[in-house]
Symmetry: C2
Subunit: 286 residues, 2 copies
């Protein structure tokens, strides 16, 4: 079997065009330009790179972008004040708290200071709870991107057995909720799972989000499984691989995301979609 | 095999004594008596019965209890005003919105009006999200009671495969989060699951919460499985059975909750425990 490539670059391009058009319609209808703010504490090179990529994404679809950069020595009160200010500013629709924060700062405290309606990363407990309860919510971007890929390639979920490897608050757990809401039978496994290969072998859909290069191999997969790989593991200078062993898995799966070029490129588009959604909800309330 | 009886009446009695003592200590330390309010809209006989049982439970452990009874024709504004009043009253620590509400009223709107810190039923999205994210939370009583039974009988969970049948917001989904937090491998199945018997057969722990009499049979179970039955199905006047077929399942399981007398009696104790927890958290903030 040669697997269908679930191509995140193709989907990201389609979504970019779609979001640009929706943003233009939104502006024509309400007068608002969707506006995203990143609150960042200085001193992390990877964050600098990521924030630039968010800026480019925003500019690419006609959104406003602003960076609120705080000094590396910033204290919790200053950080939360910056988040609250953006939360209360009616011209801002989406807020990202750039992670990781330096060790003197509490991420939970920072997230709690966020207006859940502007929480376009889907990190606030209120959004996690609304997602769990099936209410409208801002959903974390990475798992939302995985779902968008499954939909793009018309992969049905109802009654299928989905196996999620990993239980983080930003990928594994929200992905599990999304798959369950689409009527998949849902298994979450993790580092404490006794018989990982056996559990993975039951998955019609297998999603890996643990950060271990090549953890999921073709031998573990049910022939014909659909594989979503959320891993980003730098195994050598400039060489990034996923949590799934591509070589073996792509021979057994019926469809699979590559790394790079799979779930990754869709993530930023989901951030833009959340920002537009937040802007629409806020405009309805205004 | 003859299964160990997971006896909810025994546990409820132990918890009652424990909570009484903790409430007395709390009063001695802070001067506060834990105080629960039920906001009820008149006109449902089953609710009347349930509210009386809550009152008795409160009285049995020395908590204060008050009923805010609204007329059957009550509108949403009046209901939410009653909930907000209790939410803002510093002498009240726990609030229950008695469900079901009459059809002119929105349960989501009512729950949204609740202070999450007094949400002793664990219904508010913020509590569902805090539970999902592993933060301190007020957890729905029915699944919390199931966990208390597993702990009472020292049933280990880490690395075990737990299968939850049912995905409601009040039992199945929060139970899944609780089992996952205790490092079980977790499967949720439901009405759309293709091969229910096969999935149930993998469970070292099987929890049924769907409301279908006898859905889970002994033939489906892995020999030695631990079975939690959350079903309450009235099959004849005064005769209540669970979602698990007791006759066959109790011969295959290593441990099992009876219905009645299993998970049921523990539920009200979890409500009291939540109320005491809420009172303690609110006292720390005061």
């Amino acid at each position: 079997m040669t697997a269908l490539l679930l191509d995140g670059r193709v989907l990201a391009k389609e979504l970019k065009a779609q979001i640009s058009q929706q943003a233009a319609e939104f502006k024509a209808r309400t007068g608002y330009v969707p506006q995203l703010v990143v609150v960042q504490v200085a001193g992390n090179a990877a964050s600098d790179w990521y924030v630039r990529s968010i800026r480019r994404s925003c500019e690419g679809v006609g959104f406003g972008f602003a960076l609120h950069l705080l000094p590396e020595t910033c204290d919790q009160t200053t950080l939360e004040a910056a988040i609250q200010q953006a939360s209360n500013d009616p011209s801002i629709h989406g807020i990202i708290i750039q992670m990781p924060l330096p060790s003197q700062l509490s991420a939970d405290g920072a997230v709690a200071a966020l207006n859940p309606q502007k929480d376009v990363d889907g990190l606030h407990p209120t959004n996690a709870g609304r997602l769990a309860q099936g209410l409208p919510a801002l959903v974390p971007n990475t798992p939302a991107g995985g779902m968008a890929l499954l939909d793009r390639y018309q992969i049905s979920l109802a009654g299928k057995h989905a196996v999620v490897v990993g239980r983080s608050n930003v990928v594994g757990k929200p992905l599990a909720q999304l798959l369950l809401a689409r009527h998949a039978t849902l298994t979450i496994c993790h580092s404490r799972t006794a018989n990982l290969a056996e559990v993975i072998g039951q998955g019609d859909i297998v999603a890996a989000a643990v950060g271990k290069a090549g953890l999921v191999t073709g031998a573990m997969l049910k022939p014909g499984a659909v594989v979503l790989d959320f891993g980003i593991n730098e195994v050598a200078e400039g060489q990034v691989v996923g949590d799934v062993d591509w070589e073996s898995a792509s021979k057994v799966a019926s469809a699979i995301t590559p790394v790079p070029g799979g779930t990754g490129p869709v993530t930023n588009m989901m951030l833009l979609q959340n920002t537009l959604q937040a802007a629409q909800w806020l405009a309805e309330q205004a």
